[in-house]
Symmetry: C2
């Protein structure tokens, strides 16, 4: 699915971090669930031709319990209906022992219908098996995250290199036997993105932090694309979906997505 | 809350990993939600006087989407009603950037009403702030997990010591300013449990893996108790809650809990 999106020149991933308190007045409906779904539908409709993926983060749905989960499921179902060619990444950052990860895989893939999930590397290779066994799903392992303090653990030197490089090597050398492993590297760390790209070859990289977190887009593209100028999923969440709190919020989201899409195409050529 | 449970000699934590397919016939009701809640109520009633905490793992609830989440919320509400003196640990192993962790804290503490949550250390200190800011809640950071391959990342040597010791030092030196930080160490690694206890002093340690994962209980107690013979939360999940699949499942869970409780008291003296 990603391959055909990249061929269209679409590298933007829109993060559906649809925090209830920031949803514009015009998108509001009678219930939490209806409000979140209505807002997400408007954002999906406004941006679907410009993106390579949508990425809901379950935290912003779990915050409202079963109503939020219902909104998350309905949002993913809507994307599958309105934009069946666009994959959905569940940015859940899950990570537990193997028997528990099997339940998380069931939740993400069978219940919610996501196409990919983000996972934590701290517990090692063996508990990730229930994710990787899902050959038709993408498993995106956190490598170097976008937050200011990411290096505190991820840059600790193990052997001769920072931990995140060891994680990248495990991704290529051990976790990608079925060809469904990807890694996540924050756009706020372009040097680390270059390092990881060198290690992982043409493995897809999800990068985040170009919007509200101030990563530099052109630099991210140069650092993260593979040698075929593909392999990169560039997420922007709040800067797109909350581009305006006025009645024009969906058009504003599209304008922001078009702007990012244009910058990405420019960086490609 | 834990202190008063320990004074009673209660160190057992019952893990409510209530996987639907393993719930005995007799506990089943018309819906997924009713079945899970009914089963959990029976387990809570049968074991509440023997435990220091209950620990639902959301993975087994998320697997059933909004119905599962509703069952999780109702289970926690039931514990608060039937055993208000027993804290609830949400074993969610969450970990994201700070603004997202704020939503996870809202989910765990405000929506579900849990007393504590387990979290991932991979993103470093700064994104954990929205958890630690909740002074009345316990924040349990994964240090050395119970799974067979835990050491692959956690035993990587940084400086002069394995990574899990560095995490334990961060817990004591940096994360415990409000006195609400705890760590998790697998009972399947008694040597590592000894090491972590030396580092963290009297900080509470959650340990798991004595049941289905075959950790040695007496050894775990010796390794994990603090110098006042307190500070340890010893989880057993499947070995207690699925002790029998027959109509006597609740009595069987109690018998298993009593057996573990007895062994723990023996190890204490």
């Amino acid at each position: 699915m990603l391959e055909s999106r990249w061929r269209l020149g679409n590298f933007l991933c829109v993060g559906l971090d649809s925090e209830l308190s920031r949803i514009p007045e015009l998108a509001r409906k009678g219930t939490v669930r209806a409000t979140i779904v209505n807002f997400n539908r408007a954002i999906v409709d406004a941006t679907k031709d410009l993106v390579c993926a949508f990425k809901p983060n379950p935290a912003f749905y779990e915050a409202y319990g079963e109503d939020g989960w219902s909104a998350l499921r309905k949002t993913i179902a809507y994307i599958q209906e309105a934009a069946p060619e666009v994959p959905v990444i569940l940015d859940a950052k899950r990570g537990d022992i193997g028997s528990t990860n099997a339940a998380y895989a069931q939740s993400a893939f069978d219940h919610l219908g996501a196409d990919a999930i983000t996972v934590q590397p701290y517990l090692g290779s063996e508990p990730l098996a229930p994710f990787f066994e899902r050959e038709d799903k993408g498993i995106i392992v956190l490598c170097h995250t976008s937050n200011p303090g990411a290096g505190e653990i991820q840059n600790l030197v193990v052997g001769n290199e920072p931990l995140y490089k060891t994680v990248a090597r495990l991704a290529v050398g051990k976790w990608n036997t079925r060809g469904n492993c990807c890694v996540m590297v924050g756009a706020t760390y372009p040097e680390e993105l270059i390092d990881v790209r060198k290690i992982v070859g043409d493995m897809p990289i999800l990068t985040a932090g170009i919007g509200a977190q101030n990563g530099d887009l052109a630099r991210t593209m140069r650092a993260g694309l593979d040698k075929n100028k593909k392999g990169l999923i560039v997420n922007a969440s709040r800067s797109v979906i909350f581009a305006s709190s006025e009645p024009d919020f969906a058009q504003a989201a599209r304008r922001k997505a078009e702007e990012l899409h244009g910058e990405m195409r420019k960086a490609l050529s």
